[in-house]
Amino acid sequence: MASDQELIIQFQESINREANFTALLKKHQQKVYYQIKRMVTDHADADDIAQLVWIKIWDKLDGFKMESEFTTWLFRIAYNETLNYLQKQKKQGTSHSNGDLLDYENATASSDSPKSTEIQIGLDRAISQLPEKQKVVFMLRYYEGYDYEKIASIVGTTIGGAKANYHQAVKKVESFIKQL
């Protein structure tokens, strides 16, 4: 399998642009989608944002200078597009997060023991209430296992800032669950 760098160089040299772009897309689409979905919850929203992200990548890939990793650049665009989308939704007052949370609660309620269901619902609520930056830092560190340098580049902060965000996220979620 060709590396990101090889695919990008071929794309920039106009050799099979579509094929190289599609290869990049197939390689990273799931992670991009999941990163977005962890922030917006709703599939339709996540799909919309994912399309916007990849269209932006198509438009800007010619100018990508490979000074950073492609995935860092890609996830930074995904993060920014998601933030823009959420801000627009807030302005229009059309957030789907509560509806999806209820769906999630209904789905989990039937499957597990009452205690673990309670904890899961609490966790979901707590994470959804975190500020966007803390939420993303927590997700990228805990679930994706990225180093703080990469996380800092994605969310536009310092390494120390990213570490502090992770710490605050975990503590906030913990205190929220304790209140249950």
Partner: protein, 174 residues
């Protein structure tokens, strides 16, 4: 004591991914965290298989739209047809037409109103004192008229005899 533990955690953050995960697991329940992740990392059936084709067709459509916009001939209106200029021209026309209408209307009314006022005043409405004072004030004009008439006539007086001169004097004094 609790504060010390917290500070200890904060210091340990970033030492390694394993430590960071273990710390979160100890506080938030590992099972719930993995359950949470499962709920967030699912997508409708076949979504990732169809996504690239969907996206590429959208990119193609946007490309075509951009090309259309590029190729579309753009006609610029002459400067006087631009919305702002049109407004200015319309305003100027209204000012010119309105101004001339007002001007013409004023001058016509002045002309028509003056005689009407004069005609409206009949001699019967004036007292004899008013008439006398008017005549006194304008006597010198009448005198000038007589003198002018006499000067005209004098040119021909030389050719008249005394009888004719007397008759003319009578007419003038009447």
């Amino acid at each position: 004591m609790e504060k010390d533990t917290e500070l200890n955690h904060q210091d340990n953050i970033g030492n390694s991914l394993v430590q960071d995960r273990a710390w979160a697991d100890s506080l938030l329940n590992k099972q719930s965290l993995s359950q949470f992740n499962l709920s967030k990392t699912n997508a409708p059936f076949n979504y990732f298989e169809s996504f690239p084709d969907q996206l590429m067709s959208r990119i193609e459509a946007e490309k075509r739209q951009k090309m259309k916009k590029k190729n579309a001939k753009i006609f610029f209106l002459p400067s006087f047809m631009q919305p702002l200029n049109r407004l200015a021209i319309a305003a100027a026309c209204i000012i010119v037409v309105g101004g001339s209408f007002i001007f013409l209307n004023n001058s016509v009314s002045k002309k028509t109103q003056a005689p009407i006022v004069a005609n409206d005043i009949s001699l019967q409405e004036l007292s004899s004192e008013e008439i006398e004072s008017y005549v006194d004030a304008n006597e010198w004009i009448a005198e000038i008229d007589v003198q002018a008439q006499m000067q005209k006539e004098n040119l021909r007086l030389s050719s008249l005899d005394e009888k004719q001169i007397e008759e003319i004097k009578k007419i003038i004094t009447q």
